[in-house]
């Protein structure tokens, strides 16, 4: 039974348009076209004319303009992004079943299982309308995962907002979190982690990134290509409305009569119910092997889906556009091609499978319409009641967009920023050293906006649905089981530090990768693959372009050293207010594998008497740290990157988890050792007694530095007495610095650090948990 259409699409309206056919375009070369309003540059329009050998039709112009936009063509970043594909060894490729270029990369998990994941941005829609913007962000990334043939199994949401006390931050925070929850919860996808950062640089450009991960059997992997001449092309899911073409309503000049076109929606509203049904319905299609190729409709809608499916397959396709089911019957052909209505998919089906395909649609009450078929002509031909309105080589739309080598240069201000170290700055006066002051400093740190408890957010997310969530907030990585029989599973963490990347984009990006890698290894999983979302300002600003180029170079170099490939990602540019860009914010997601998720290591200790070890050495690295941020300083150089050490630390943490040598592990990142000790104590409400003298002596740092420095490549672990010798032998054999810094104290209800006034866990918890409710209710 097909759902009754919400809006009838009267066929008679079709002829109301002054249809600009290919024939007409050839005859009227001098017709003025609104290419500039559609965002094309003169040289780009000229290129379109050259490619076609004539002026484009209105519909063709619509297609090229969206597909050649920054968002779809990566024209500013493509030249740099190539490094992710180039800097890859054979070893790194070994588990990569599908690499960059498809909707999402696919990694082999063994036992016939594969995993696909990807991170994307929905930044500006989330600023305009936080609830719907964030919700549709989740919707979009989940469809990418479905279109690979996978069942989505979890989502994550790295978030960056303006200053915590700015009045507009509450609007964005409330809306975005409720939207992510409202959509993700309704899909039955557990939220297993994310990030939350407040910084005034994001005031007008909050970053709402969304990650989805899905799993499949190898044989279920689907690619976005249209092969097999005579196979049918079908569009299914929601009806097509005027979504996402607001700015492009100039195309209404296609409108024949002089009545004004209907209004186009300024924002898109998500329908998570429709998407949930779409997920189940697609999985049923995959199970029955009923589709040859499939593509989700996201940015650039039908333009993208038809041109990509065609160019990745046999090269040709014919589509009748009046067959598209419409929510808004006033849409012109160009607008239909550009529409970004949510919750739609396009698939290629063999004639034999049509009946079975329709039965699945009817079962789930999903609307569908057959648009045309695959050809081998190498042309994408789109007709409107039989008249040809698009006749293009689909590759020229989908793949041969413009590529720019935008000028970039190290900003003039970079040197002076790097020279301005926190140590010795005005903001550094009165650094705490007395026991009471250090305790107050630690309490202030864990209550600060970026370090405080995040459960105001995570409470609004379903973490249990699916029954496979083995770890989520507040542990270092989210962990989901893939196979109930064996316990095979995956771990995921996302990280970025905009301040580090501002100070040094090359190393800042590497630090983001290092942290995500470390978080995954800390949970006990073996890191396998990377996805990234590059959030930057305008590429037309050489300073920003340099940040982007450096970040990509840094990230790709670091992936080589760590031996894990980038399998996909997303670039979000123009995140700036006026001429002020956000901090360069490359958000990096690392995926790891567990042979058995039962071996996961939580981030807090429980049992009395466990020995606590600090792994790694500590240097005086406070520039860009949370501490300096709390004091209002940003300058100097970020912590040093040592990827070999990260790898070694990772091996230790993974082995320790596999062989049951540690009961808990927590990596050190923002907030340093102080944050890690408090978080590990609050995790299960069990404190510890800590003495850092050996660290101070060995590393030549003072107590404050030992607590607040953000030196990388470190972690704290809690080791049962029975495992201590085995554990320390392993560290010694690997030549990795380790020192016993204390013992778990299940009785005291306190965190005791020699030289710091004893802190009660209750007071720490109260400070840690009060911040978000104070600002957001």
């Amino acid at each position: 039974m097909t759902e009754t259409p919400a809006v009838a699409a009267p066929a008679e309206t079709a002829r109301k348009f002054n249809i600009d056919t290919v024939e007409n375009a050839a005859k009227t070369p001098d017709t003025e076209l609104p290419w500039a309003e559609l965002g094309l540059k003169q040289n780009e329009f000229d290129e379109v004319v050259k490619v076609l050998g004539r002026r484009p039709t209105g519909a063709e112009l619509a297609m090229y303009s969206v597909m050649w936009s920054e968002h779809c063509s990566y024209k500013s970043s493509k030249n740099h992004l190539r490094q992710f594909g180039d800097k890859v060894t054979e070893e790194m490729k070994k588990d990569m079943l599908v690499g960059i270029g498809e909707n999402a990369g696919v990694t082999n998990l063994g036992d016939g299982w594969a995993v696909t994941f990807k991170i994307e941005s929905h930044n500006s829609p989330s600023f305009v309308e936080p609830y719907q913007g964030a919700a549709t962000g989740i919707g979009g990334i989940v469809r990418d995962i479905i279109s690979m043939g996978a069942r989505p199994v979890a989502v994550m949401d790295p978030l960056r907002f303006g200053a915590i006390d700015h009045p507009d931050t509450a609007r964005v925070m409330h809306g975005a979190v409720a939207g992510i929850g409202g959509y993700g919860n309704s899909l039955g996808l557990p939220n297993i982690g994310g990030e939350m950062v407040f910084d005034s640089v994001y005031q007008g450009n909050p970053l709402v990134n969304a990650l989805a991960v899905g799993v499949m059997r190898h044989e279920d992997i689907r690619l976005a290509n249209a092969s097999g001449k005579g196979n049918k092309v079908v569009l299914f899911g929601a009806r097509t409305g005027g979504d996402g073409i607001g700015g492009a309503s100039v195309l209404a000049s296609e409108s024949f009569d002089d009545t004004k076109p209907s209004k186009r929606p300024a924002v898109q509203v998500g329908d998570p119910f429709a998407e949930k049904v779409l997920i189940e319905c697609c999985l049923e299609l995959f199970k029955g092997s009923l589709v040859e190729g499939i593509q989700d409709l996201g940015a650039a809608g039908i333009s993208c889906a038809t041109s990509e499916l065609a160019s990745n397959g046999d090269g040709g396709m014919e589509v009748e556009l009046t067959s598209v089911l419409l929510r808004d019957p006033t849409l012109t052909p160009g607008e239909i091609l550009m529409s970004e209505s949510q919750e739609r998919m396009m698939a290629v089906v063999t004639p034999e499978n049509i009946a079975a395909f329709e039965a699945v649609m009817d079962k789930w009450a999903v609307e569908y319409s057959w648009l045309g078929e695959v050809t081998d002509t190498g042309r994408l031909i789109i007709t409107w009641e039989g008249d040809v309105i698009v006749d293009v080589d689909p590759r020229t739309v989908a793949h041969d967009g413009p590529v720019y080598d935008r000028p970039y240069a190290r900003p003039e201000w970079q040197d002076s920023v790097q020279a301005d170290s926190f140590t010795g700055s005005v903001q550094d006066t009165g650094r705490p050293s007395a026991p009471a002051d250090l305790a107050a400093a630690i309490t202030e740190l864990v209550a600060s906006p970026n370090m405080c408890d995040k459960s105001w957010i995570t409470k609004q997310y379903d973490r249990y649905v699916g029954g496979n969530t083995a770890m989520a907030f507040p542990d270092d990585a989210g962990v989901v089981r893939v196979d109930e029989e064996t316990g095979l599973g995956v771990a995921l963490a996302t990280d970025a530090n905009g301040r580090y990347t501002y100070l040094d984009p090359y190393h800042g990006a590497q630090l983001a990768l290092a942290e995500a890698y470390r978080n995954v290894a800390t949970s006990g999983a073996v890191p396998m693959a990377v996805s990234d979302c590059l959030n930057f300002g305008s590429p037309e600003d050489p300073d920003v372009m340099w940040q982007l180029a450096e970040a990509i170079r840094g990230l790709s170099d670091a992936c080589m050293v760590l031996g894990i490939p980038v399998t996909g990602g997303n670039v979000s540019l123009y995140n700036q207010t006026g001429t002020t860009p956000i901090h360069p914010s490359p958000v990096v997601a690392v995926l790891g594998k567990f042979d058995d998720v039962a071996r996961r290591t939580p981030s807090g200790w429980k049992e009395d008497g466990l020995a606590i070890y600090l792994l790694g050495t500590t240097a005086a690295e406070l520039d860009g740290s949370e501490w300096s941020n709390m004091r209002g300083h940003l300058g100097g150089l970020p912590p040093k990157v040592d990827l070999e050490a990260e790898r070694e630390l990772g091996q230790i943490l993974i082995n320790a988890s596999r062989d049951g040598m540690v009961d808990s592990a927590h990596d050190l990142s923002e907030g340093g050792l102080a944050a890690a000790l408090v978080e590990s104590s609050l995790r299960y409400g069990v404190g510890a007694r800590i003495a850092l003298q050996d660290v101070l002596d060995r590393d030549g740092v003072d107590l404050f530095t030992a607590l607040f420095s953000e030196t990388q490549g470190r972690a704290v672990v809690a080791v049962p007495r029975s495992e201590e010798i085995r554990f320390t032998d392993m560290c010694t054999a690997r030549g990795f610095a380790h020192v016993r810094i204390g013992v778990v104290d299940a009785e005291g209800g306190t965190l005791e650090i020699n030289g710091v006034e004893t802190m009660s866990l209750d007071a720490l918890r109260e400070a840690h948990e009060a911040t978000l409710p104070k600002y957001f209710g």
């Binding site: 409470k459 609004q460 029954g467 089981r481 299960y684």
Partner: protein, 252 residues
């Protein structure tokens, strides 16, 4: 060694030889989310889960039915409002009211569907704080004589996940008084009322006790390591073993 229980370690159910033969239907509506989880809980309890599709017109030979959580039809109109009219629901309503008194458990959205169907009194409105809330929730089993609670001790406190947006249970005072008087308040929130429910009510039953509905999710507390961190993590399994023991007992 790690304190985290390993998977498969903690779940040891005394399986009655006839239990595996028991069939428990799990209903799926468009928008249902926790159907696979409910099926897993049935399996871990030792019985055989049977998939039931909302548009179906027969319950087959199932011995009990679980209506799992989710957002049927998006919960857009009212939670459970549209699902209530599914063809299968009229079969469930008839079977629940028949002399055979088919055991029916509604969890979260399932509970909302049962109230919309008038199998259970009252209704659910938006949480008093207006937000979705996910947390490990302590419940007290107030009545252990229903079809779904026989394996618990009266007054026993259990921890199971709670996650909902429209979980505030309301009914008029007369109905509430009657529910209390008849022992039909089956579960009450302990320590914290997460949604503003009247009299801390987390779950109720019909008069004979074969139909039970509750907002929290026992099916998410059946496997150690994948449920609440408070308590054993498997304190929801008793729902499913209870109904099995009841079925086996009735068939004796």
């Amino acid at each position: 060694m790690t304190e985290l229980p390993l998977i498969g370690e903690a779940v040891a159910v005394a399986a009655h030889p006839r239990l595996a033969g028991a069939k428990i239907g799990v209903v799926t509506f468009p928008g249902t989310l926790d159907d696979r989880d409910a099926a897993r809980a049935v399996r871990l309890a030792g019985a055989t889960p049977v998939e039931l599709w909302h548009a179906g017109t027969t319950l087959g030979d199932v011995d009990a039915v679980v209506i799992p959580g989710g957002f049927s039809y998006g919960d857009y109109l009212r939670a459970g409002a549209i699902a209530r009219f599914a063809p299968l629901m009229s079969k469930i309503i008839d079977a629940a009211n028949s002399d055979a008194k088919l055991p029916v458990l509604g969890i979260c959205n399932g509970f909302q569907i049962l109230t919309e169907s008038h199998l259970l009194p009252g209704s659910m409105i938006k949480n008093d704080h207006l937000k979705f809330m996910c947390r490990d929730q302590v419940l007290r089993v107030e009545n252990n004589t229903t079809a779904w609670t026989g394996d618990y001790a009266a007054g026993q406190e259990i921890t199971v996940p709670l996650k909902n947006q429209d979980g505030q249970y309301i009914a008029d005072e007369k109905t509430l008084d009657a529910l209390e008087a008849e022992g039909r308040v089956v579960f009450r929130y302990v320590g914290f009322n997460p949604n503003g429910s009247r009299r801390d009510i987390a779950g109720i039953s019909n008069a004979p006790g074969n139909v039970v509905g509750l907002m929290p999710h026992p099916e998410h507390a059946v496997e150690a390591g994948f449920g609440p961190e408070i308590g054993s993590g498997t304190e929801g399994l008793g729902f499913f073993t209870s109904v099995l023991n009841k079925i086996v007992g009735d068939n004796k």
